[in-house]
């Protein structure tokens, strides 16, 4: 009965075509192909974890959790501890965010809340996005030859004023944690600005109109209505930026000084896990490779935890309006 769709008299006008086996094969084949390609994401992710974990096993067995709290890095005696690098990673990432969050959020408010003429607003937005496109290694080059010499007098001043504190008790002499923090600010600023801008743009217009309708000022509306409505996405963006700052490698490697001995001072040369990997991985052998893999594993787990927390925060904090 399926063939009876054919109108009488005109056989060519309408025919029901059965799908040839080749076409079906192509169809299912394509489906399986895309499935396999999608699965590759999981395979790569798992592969990364396994390669790093497998490489780190020897060091995990030898150093255990002591690795996290000691700061010896002694290839001669084969004694390794990553505390210096972990301290550097966390301190540079967190302090850079402390500076970058107000700047990025302020910029995002400036370009979403109708304070500037449209052309200028778009211009600022474009600039910040282009800043994100500049390669890390170019920022590092700029930091070495331009930024660090320029800010050294300011760091000297901080040292003379606050030198009593262990955070500033070393004389700034070129590369160090403070310039690394500043270059990280430059690198995470575009992320925070872009995500905050999108979050603010998504706040329903009715909330703004309601706030202005009851007679509040612009900043009254921003602080008590718009920011609370966008806070979940902004927090998520800040967490993503934290993950990025912890994993950022090149610019930091070029300006942090790569010192393996621990100093709490922000003006002293330091190290991060990523910069340690960039510097030593190529030339290491034996247990040092394993120790570096162990550090890489810690970095992976840190960024993983931060990224998962970012997704959780976005889901948990989102207001229902």
């Amino acid at each position: 009965m399926t063939t009876d769709f054919r109108p009488s008299g005109d056989a060519d006008a309408f025919t029901l075509r059965r799908r040839p086996p080749a076409e079906k094969l192509v169809d299912t084949g394509f489906r399986q192909l895309t499935l396999a390609l999608a699965s590759l994401v999981a395979v790569v992710l798992l592969g990364i974890f396994l390669v790093v974990f497998d490489g780190a096993r020897e060091a995990i067995g030898q150093f255990g959790l002591r690795f996290l709290t000691t700061s010896a890095w002694d290839p001669v005696n084969e004694e390794y501890g990553a505390f210096t690098a972990i301290y550097g990673t966390l301190v540079t990432a967190i302090l850079s965010l402390v500076i970058a969050v107000p700047l990025g959020l302020g910029t995002a408010i400036l370009i979403t809340e109708d304070m500037l003429p449209r052309a200028l607003r778009d211009g600022v937005g474009l600039m910040v996005e282009l800043l994100a496109a500049i390669p890390s290694v170019v920022l590092g080059l700029w930091a070495i030859f331009v930024m660090e010499p320029a800010i050294r007098p300011a760091l000297q001043l901080i040292h003379t004023l606050l030198g009593w504190s262990p955070l500033f008790d070393t004389v700034p002499q070129g590369p160090g944690m403070a310039p690394a923090i500043l270059i990280l600010v430059v690198m995470v600023l575009p992320i925070i600005t872009a995500i905050s801008r999108d979050a603010l743009n998504q706040v329903p217009i009715e909330l703004r109109q309601g706030a202005y309708g009851v007679g509040t000022t612009r900043w009254g509306a921003i602080f008590s209505v718009i920011l609370p409505a966008a806070i979940s996405a902004i927090t998520g963006g800040v967490m993503l930026a934290l993950g990025r700052a912890m994993g950022e490698t090149m610019a930091v490697t070029m300006i942090i000084g790569n010192a393996m001995n621990f100093s709490p001072s922000l003006l002293a040369p330091g190290n991060t896990i990523a910069s340690m990997l960039a510097n030593q991985f190529g030339e290491a052998d034996g247990i040092q490779v394993s120790a570096l893999m162990y550090a890489a594993l810690i970095l992976m787990l840190l960024t993983f935890a931060v990224n998962v927390m970012a997704q959780w925060v976005v889901r948990r904090l989102s207001l229902r309006y």
């Binding site: 192509v26 394509f30 489906r31 895309t34 499935l35 390609l37 999608a38 699965s39 590759l40 994401v41 999981a42 992710l45 592969g47 390669v51 790093v52 700047l103 990025g104 959020l105 302020g106 910029t107 408010i109 304070m115 600022v124 600039m127 996005e129 800043l131 496109a133 500049i134 390669p135 890390s136 290694v137 170019v138 920022l139 590092g140 080059l141 700029w142 070495i144 030859f145 600023l189 000022t217 900043w219 009254g220 921003i222 993503l240 994993g247 950022e248 490698t249 090149m250 490697t253 990523a274 960039a278 991985f281 570096l292 890489a296 992976m300 960024t303 993983f304 931060v306 990224n307 997704q311």
Partner: protein, 309 residues
């Protein structure tokens, strides 16, 4: 005033008791208006500070790098340490080669994966798992991707018993590009109206034909934009290359030998104590930044043109 019945307490009071009479004209000296101006000023200042680094970096890169711009910069090899002159020809070529290898790996996988997520998966547990994994992969630090490829390609010498190679560098960059390509493909396909697919099925097209002839072309613009941005980002990456593609002072010697790239050249030459090398690092920055900004503006232009059409 009992809060339990505010209406009653309102009845006794007149309008004047409840509200202070104020003129309705704008009074700039009010505290709220002064605070308003203060915060607007702060936001403006923060915006200016945020834009400042871009200006400074661009000015220095364009001036310091632009000075060295010449024909020989692209045709000569970098000089040995201590000597002057030379160029970055091998690094320019190497960056193109490594980025092409990365694109050849990441684009088919990424577009295929994105097609699966949006066209086939119905957002079941596996698709959610892949999406989640994709987000995690996007957050993996770039240096870890280098460690990974070092572990599976360089240390194992699986390609013709070669250790460091252009292909290894390309794979490391592909790992970084993949999440972006999948995400933009998935998001781009989401924007294709469902009616287009129904229309294609209605005239008897198979799912394969629908996707390759209707859905993917309809989503071409967002996907192309995302891919251009991913390539631009990969071209500037350094961390995954320093122990996969390594560096080479010579012209590229095929895909399975160490290869010079501009980003690694900048890193190596910036920390050398020789002026000629430092200058070449600035020149390479100039070329790299111009290439990347051009790609970004191109991507922007593609999506703007498409929105107008």
């Amino acid at each position: 005033m009992t809060p339990s019945n505010p209406r009653q307490s309102l009845q006794g009071a007149s309008f004047n008791d409840l509200f202070e009479r104020r003129p309705l004209t704008f009074d700039p000296s009010l505290k709220r208006n002064r605070l308003n101006r203060l915060f607007t000023g702060i936001a403006g200042l923060f915006g200016a500070i945020a834009v400042l680094p871009l200006f400074l970096v661009l000015i220095y890169v364009l001036v310091k790098g632009g000075q060295l711009l010449s024909f020989s910069l692209f045709t000569q090899l970098p000089p040995p340490p201590g000597l002057d002159g030379g160029g970055i020809g091998n690094a320019v070529l190497g960056t193109i080669v490594v980025t092409l290898v990365a694109s050849a790996i990441a684009i088919p996988i990424g577009v295929g994966g994105g097609v699966y997520l949006n066209e086939y998966s119905q957002r079941g547990w596996f698709a959610q798992f892949v999406s989640f994994g994709n987000d995690v992969l996007a957050g993996v630090p770039s240096i870890i991707s280098g460690v990974f490829v070092y572990g599976i390609v360089v240390a194992t010498r699986i390609f013709f018993n070669q250790s460091y190679s252009a292909v290894a560098g390309g794979i490391a960059l592909a790992v970084l590009m993949l999440p972006t390509v999948i995400k933009t493909t998935d998001e781009g396909l989401k924007l294709v109206p469902q009616e287009l697919r129904w229309g294609a099925y209605g005239v008897g097209a198979s799912k394969f034909v629908t996707i390759t002839r209707i859905t993917l072309p309809a989503a071409f613009t967002p996907i192309a934009t995302g891919i251009v941005l991913a390539i631009a980002r990969a071209a500037g990456e350094t961390a995954p290359l320093i122990f996969t593609a390594l560096f080479s002072p010579f012209w590229p010697e095929g895909l399975f030998n160490p290869i010079a790239t501009m980003s690694v050249l900048i890193f190596n030459f910036a920390i050398m104590p020789y002026e000629a090398q430092n200058a070449l690092a600035w020149a390479a920055s100039f070329v790299l930044v111009i290439m990347i900004l051009a790609a970004n503006l191109l991507a922007r232009w593609i999506s703007k043109m498409a929105r107008k059409a």
